[in-house]
């Protein structure tokens, strides 16, 4: 996966989380995932389609998710209020991924984002040769958060564009 795809997500996560938590955020780990994704806590998945396609999973351990929900709501959200905590994780995923998608679109990549959905299965799909998965671990004042990105360029669209470019030259 190319850095031009990854960087906007790092920047967006850093900006959104630092503003929400009013404290700095550090990337603790950055690894390529070969095995199926194992959910850490409460996770939301966003799918992309178009010139870039794939999925991103935003995952927070339960304690961190409850704290993030409280920050996002501006009022205490109990860890036992599962529905609010899940909603908050989905909304946070939407904000982080949406801001990164904005940057990528403004750089000339055209693709569509679907609304976030709760990722409930314990394991996600395995990465493949053309859909490498990158896992980013963020260390925040609320706890640990993870982002698992499996994205690829759409080959058919890329070749279509090459054909169009050939016709136009």
């Amino acid at each position: 996966m190319r850095m031009e795809l990854i960087q906007p997500f790092i920047n967006s996560a850093d900006a959104v989380l630092a503003e929400l938590l009013e404290s700095p955020v550090a990337i603790e780990k950055l690894t390529m995932e070969e095995e199926a994704y194992r959910r850490q806590g409460i996770a939301a998945e966003v799918c992309l389609s178009g010139e870039i396609e794939g999925r991103i999973i935003f995952d927070a351990d339960r304690a961190a998710a409850a704290q993030l929900a409280s920050r996002l709501a501006g009022a205490e959200v109990s860890a036992t209020d599962e529905e609010s905590v899940r909603e908050a994780v989905c909304e946070l995923a939407n904000q982080i991924i949406g801001n990164a998608v904005t940057t990528l679109n403004d750089q000339g990549f055209h693709f569509h984002v679907r609304p976030p959905a709760l990722h409930t299965s314990e394991q996600g799909s395995k990465s493949s040769e053309d859909t490498e998965a990158l896992v980013m671990g963020f260390n925040t004042s609320s706890g640990n958060l993870f982002m698992n990105m499996a994205l690829r360029y759409h080959r058919r669209r890329a070749s279509e564009r090459a054909v169009v470019a050939g016709h136009n030259s």
Binding site: V16, A88, C90, E91, Q95, G98, N99, V101
Partner: protein, 145 residues
């Protein structure tokens, strides 16, 4: 949450009535809390574009806060349908996906403004004031012609 001077309707000084459209209940609650600090009244909510259109017909709110990425009918399409039938509708798009092409498409189809998530209360407040003032200024100019 910060307190703001109330924004009211210029014609009768009553609170601004809002319809909030977002597929996330959490986001709707947050926006509702925010507009209440502006002295507004949330008269309806919808979780997708189709419900937004029917709720607009039923409630005729002063302002619609409309998300873009939603299931079924998306926000820009819903805004276009509402404005086609109600040309004076004031729709403010509120979305995390704020690339230029999207903003232009929303404005071309009748939205009055765009606010990017995460929403800052002070930014939304200024936008609401602008959108509400926009009409009274236009009406004032029209009355003078």
């Amino acid at each position: 949450m910060e307190k703001f001077a109330p924004v009211t309707r210029s014609e009768d000084g009553q609170p601004v009535r809002y319809l909030i459209v977002d597929d996330s209940v959490f986001a709707r609650k947050n926006l509702a809390r925010m507009v209440e600090t502006f002295g507004g009244q949330v008269i309806g909510e919808a979780g997708d574009g189709v419900s937004a259109i029917s709720e607009y017909e039923r409630l005729t709110p002063d302002i619609v806060l409309m998300d873009i990425t939603m299931p079924q009918t998306e926000g820009i399409e819903a805004a276009e349908k509402i404005v086609r039938d109600h040309p004076t509708a004031r729709i403010v798009m509120v979305s995390s996906v704020g690339y230029q092409e999207n903003i232009v498409a929303a404005l071309q189809r009748g939205a009055r403004h765009f606010v990017q998530k995460p929403v800052k209360a002070e930014v939304l407040y200024e936008v609401i004031k602008y959108v509400m003032r926009d009409d009274s200024a236009a009406q004032g100019a029209g009355a003078g012609v």
